[in-house]
Symmetry: C2
Subunit: 209 residues, 2 copies
Amino acid sequence: MRILITAGPTREYLDDVRYLSNASSGRMGYALAEAAIARGHQVILVTGPVGLTPPRNCQVHHVETTDELLGACREAFPACDGVIATAAVCDYRPRERFSGKLAKTGVSLELELVETADVLAELGQTKAHRWIMGFALESAEFAHQNALRKLKEKNCDIIVLNGPAAIGSNTNEVELIDPLGQAIERYTGSKTDIAMRLIEWVEAHLNSQ
Amino acid sequence: MRILITAGPTREYLDDVRYLSNASSGRMGYALAEAAIARGHQVILVTGPVGLTPPRNCQVHHVETTDELLGACREAFPACDGVIATAAVCDYRPRERFSGKLAKTGVSLELELVETADVLAELGQTKAHRWIMGFALESAEFAHQNALRKLKEKNCDIIVLNGPAAIGSNTNEVELIDPLGQAIERYTGSKTDIAMRLIEWVEAHLNSQ
């Protein structure tokens, strides 16, 4: 298969220096890229700024903002069989980006945050015969319901639910939620091990679409 | 000498996942720590989250927020001869930190940003016989004036002026601004080379205080 994988955080700038982001390390996405390549798949990796070296034999697009991520995915997705969307996009961006570096003034600053593009939802709208494995990072007590809602809103075939402990960690604990809301698999361990399990799951369940 | 060095960015959280930060790599601070150790000095490195491995033979304190940076510096500074402050602290933080991960609502979000503690100014107020080498990252056309104002406001002995191109780069271009506002030195090159020049400058000019 040819698989599009998104990884890492995005950044949304307030001025030329400061931005809104999150601590996503990109490890889950890079581990998935490694695992997919090891299993003989072609990988297009669209990655936000992380401290990792992309795997060899992998087409890599580096992006910074959510809009750049969207642009790279729009271009790559049509030629792929499916997408695994691990990127922890900034859901919000400052409405205005100031040029230069805002000087401190001694008073507080009102910042208006607007929602960024919903990359996964757009891929979902244009998927046609392609499959989508989404990721949901949920901290709330309604984690399962939220994950299922995301799956439906974004037209995913399967969604991988994980918690905030995943961020920046070498290990993870994930559940696969299907379109009926069932937790059909649960994997715990290193991100490397979980990545291999997920790729094998994709091969077994999404490959034939 | 025993030298306190601050490095890297700080992060200020909006909720448990999202934060305000900047792309400081920590390279200038870590290079200064390496250079100081190579020249026989003792180093206490207080570092924000970066992807670098601290030098050996170095006391390291990992911090995340500006308040944590301030706490670590307050504790370490009294036992040091001086401080080299390269950390790119978040000057602003969201007034409120929400627990969990804020769900998207479809509407924009008003965020009130308040100024964080001014770590360098506080070290300046308590410096007594200790010396302070500050760093100023300035993009404005009044870069020199701004750097001199910072030197005075923060009670620095010398301030290293650099531009936004320094962020995340392996190289840098710096000017040393003295309390009279004179650009007394200008170093260009790798951050490793500039670090050695700066340590030698400190030895020659600040050691005897």
